[in-house]
């Protein structure tokens, strides 16, 4: 289980392979990759975070997932800094014996990360820069897991 916060891009193939490398009990790996979406007038996205809290928050989210599902490995990578359209922002990879647990845990981690991990996005557009507003749908997604 490991989490990273970094400026650099990550290698999806290598990260996926690492989740099952050297073991034979992994039957399913589910990965999520989040990307910067472009759009009319959109230039770039800058991600700020709260360094002292970030790793702690991500580790707590992973620990919660491990308490709920039988997971064999989990990897979370979140990039910070300035990112252009099409660039990767986040990777969540979950390895499990069976696909049900891997799918659920990966989506759970993303829903928690979106609402509980201290990252903020600022969009640069040709009309200026603004902070992205939190979405109610992300809170709603999280609530599914708290029933």
């Amino acid at each position: 289980m490991s989490v990273s916060v970094q400026l650099e891009d990550f290698d999806v193939g290598a990260e996926t392979s690492a989740l099952s490398a050297g073991r034979e009990d992994v039957g399913a790996v589910v990965n999520f990759v989040g990307l910067v979406r472009g759009g009319e007038g959109f230039i770039a996205m800058t991600l700020e975070h709260y360094p002292a809290m970030t790793a702690k928050a991500l580790e707590d989210i992973v620990a919660q997932a491990c308490a709920r599902w039988e997971l064999l490995d989990v990897r979370v990578i979140h990039r910070v800094g300035r990112l252009l359209p099409g660039e990767r922002i986040v990777f969540v990879g979950v390895a499990s014996g069976h696909r049900g647990a891997a799918f659920e845990a990966c989506e759970f981690i993303m829903d928690y990360l979106k609402t509980r991990a201290p990252f903020w996005k600022k969009e640069e557009t040709c009309r200026g820069a603004h902070w992205v507003d939190a979405r109610d749908s992300d809170e709603a997604a999280l609530e599914r897991w708290e029933r």
């Binding site: 989040g34 991600l47 700020e48 975070h49 709260y50 002292a52 809290m53 702690k56 928050a57 979140h78 922002i89 986040v90 993303m110 990360l113 979106k114 609402t115 509980r116 991990a117 201290p118 990252f119 903020w120 996005k121 600022k122 902070w131 992205v132 507003d133 939190a134 979405r135």
Partner: protein, 85 residues
């Protein structure tokens, strides 16, 4: 000791302040909610912390409730709802 206070993202920009240190706990401040009220009472632009504004608080790098205790030596962070991922 004292209390270290951090501000992030849009809130940091609105307040024009990323970090400050209080020498000790202000009188009557014992939890996250009362610290927020105390800061808000400074007036503009600190009314960005007014009740009803969407502000999240972390005490010692953990998301806090209004009733989470704050004591001398703690690190308290104020920030808007997060938007990572």
């Amino acid at each position: 000791m004292g209390v270290k206070i951090l501000y992030f993202a849009g809130l940091r920009e609105t307040l024009g302040c990323a970090e400050e240190n209080l020498d000790g706990m202000p009188a009557g401040v014992a939890d996250a909610a009362s610290l927020r009220t105390w800061l808000c009472a400074r007036g503009e632009p600190w009314d960005a912390l007014a009740p009803g504004k969407s502000v999240r608080i972390a005490v010692n790098q953990t998301l806090a409730h209004p009733t989470t205790q704050v004591k001398d030596g703690d690190e308290v962070a104020f920030f808007p709802p997060v938007t990572g991922g």
